[in-house]
């Protein structure tokens, strides 16, 4: 059995846990261990379209946080190696008059976050993306949205962190946690580890991990089913809500959100509905072939907003659990490292404290 004493242990090696591990690995003299029940990319972070998506993240503070992360990706692209971060711009299509009204509300909110959102009419949308349906009424657009290659991002985080001295333990499930006078004791299938600081970044599984320390992490699950096309001619140049086209010509398509727990199956009804919506949006897709489908389970905090920070009344126990981990991993890595090393963050993160659920009486128990 393995054992060891660490300054910080990170539970969960998805994109959020690895983003934090990478930033921690740059701190001199900090000994860290990152544990995962499987291997990076085997869960949510490996089953994603990997948009770096900012422009519909309301309220405005969430928009600001997402923008800060997008900006951090431009630095990471140089710092950790090619992660194929492409700021293509993103369009959220509108098909109704009501949609246009909502767009104005969104634009007003995003102005407060310094996130540029344009409201485009039909003609402007079609000039930008000529293969979109003529039935479109308009779209919201932001130049800041884009995409990353999730496999490259995760492998670069992992490799760079390891090169900096971070330790990893994969295929090793956490089976219990204990508070000690020193910090926390982490019981795993492969051994027992001691740490001063403990960071929970287990995505979907955080809720169960939290229970070991009687901490309630209020989240639920949301399955997304994705269709993968054959490589085809360039049909879209930006993220169009529901789809992106990769550099190799493959288009990823997905619109679905289903709360079905941990069930990662794909189902024909949802795939058919997704195909219909895709063809409504881009009629030329009708003749393009699907080669594969997959599904992933997102984690969603119960109020939709990231959960981040030290857990009240649990000294040196930290959490980072959020939807949109791809978009946020860059900034959460930085902010968590500030918090761990200095006790505070350079920008206020109060809005994301898990304490908000207690105050609102939203704890699900």
């Amino acid at each position: 059995m393995k054992h060891g004493v660490y300054d910080a242990i990170v539970i969960g090696a998805g994109v959020v846990g690895l983003g934090i591990t990478y930033e921690l690995s740059k701190v001199q003299g900090l000994r860290t261990l990152t544990i995962d029940q499987a291997y990076p990319m085997s869960g949510t972070s490996g089953a994603t379209q990997a948009w770096i998506w900012v422009h519909s993240k309301t309220p405005h503070h969430y928009g600001s946080l997402s923008k800060a992360s997008a900006d951090r990706y431009t630095e990471l692209q140089d710092e950790i190696g090619d992660i194929e971060y492409i700021r293509s711009g993103g369009l959220s299509p509108i098909f109704s008059k009501d949609g246009l009204l909502n767009a104005k509300t969104l634009q007003d909110e995003m102005v407060k976050a310094n996130v540029p959102v344009d409201i485009l009419d039909r003609k402007e949308v079609l000039e930008m993306e000529p293969n979109l349906s003529q039935k479109i009424v308009g779209a919201t657009y932001s130049a800041i949205d884009g995409t990353v290659n999730p496999f490259k991002l995760i492998q670069q985080y992992h490799r760079q962190a390891e090169a900096n001295g971070a330790e990893f333990s994969f295929y090793n499930e956490v089976i219990d946690l204990e508070k000690t006078s020193f910090g926390y004791r982490v019981h795993t299938q492969q051994g027992v580890f001691e740490t001063e600081k403990l960071i929970l970044t287990a995505g979907l599984w955080s809720k169960q991990i939290g229970r070991f320390l009687e901490v309630d992490i209020p989240t639920h699950t949301s399955r997304g089913q994705i269709l993968v096309t054959e490589p085809t001619e360039r049909l879209i140049n930006r993220v169009i809500v529901g789809m992106r086209q990769l550099q190799n010509g493959i288009i990823l398509i997905g619109f679905s959100k289903e709360d079905v727990g941990y069930d990662r199956r794909t189902t024909l009804d949802v795939l058919q509905d997704s195909a219909k919506r895709a063809v409504e949006l881009v009629p030329k897709l009708s003749d393009v072939k699907i080669v594969r489908t997959f599904s992933g389970i997102r984690v969603l905090p119960d109020d939709g907003i990231p959960i981040f920070g030290e857990i009240p009344e649990h000294e040196h126990l930290y959490v980072a659990v959020t939807h949109s981990g791809m978009t946020l991993s860059a900034i959460l890595g930085k902010r968590m490292t500030e918090l761990i090393t200095t006790g505070k963050t350079s920008e206020a993160m109060d809005a994301y404290s898990i304490g908000r659920f207690q105050e609102r009486g939203m704890v699900s128990g």
Binding site: Y39, M41, S42, L271, D287, V291
Partner: protein, 95 residues
Amino acid sequence: MATQKEPSELIVCHCEELTVEDLKEAFDYGARSFDDLKRMSRCGMGHCQAKYCYNHTNELLAKWSGVPEEKLSSTNHRTPIRPVPLKVLMEGEST
């Protein structure tokens, strides 16, 4: 695998043109299942969707890890069995 000659340059995944050496690199980095290798290297993500490379890759994984092939975790085989245009998928009846 059919040949003993220059095994490291032998192509395992024809769709994505990945060699034994490419897969060994992913294995050395901690990949222990076909899906780990797939996400690290794109092995099996191409047109054939792992129909050609799956068994060969598992033979290699078994050899390198010492875990018998039948004990390796299997990949998800998902819809569609062969490429199908969106218009056909849309019109097919769901049961």
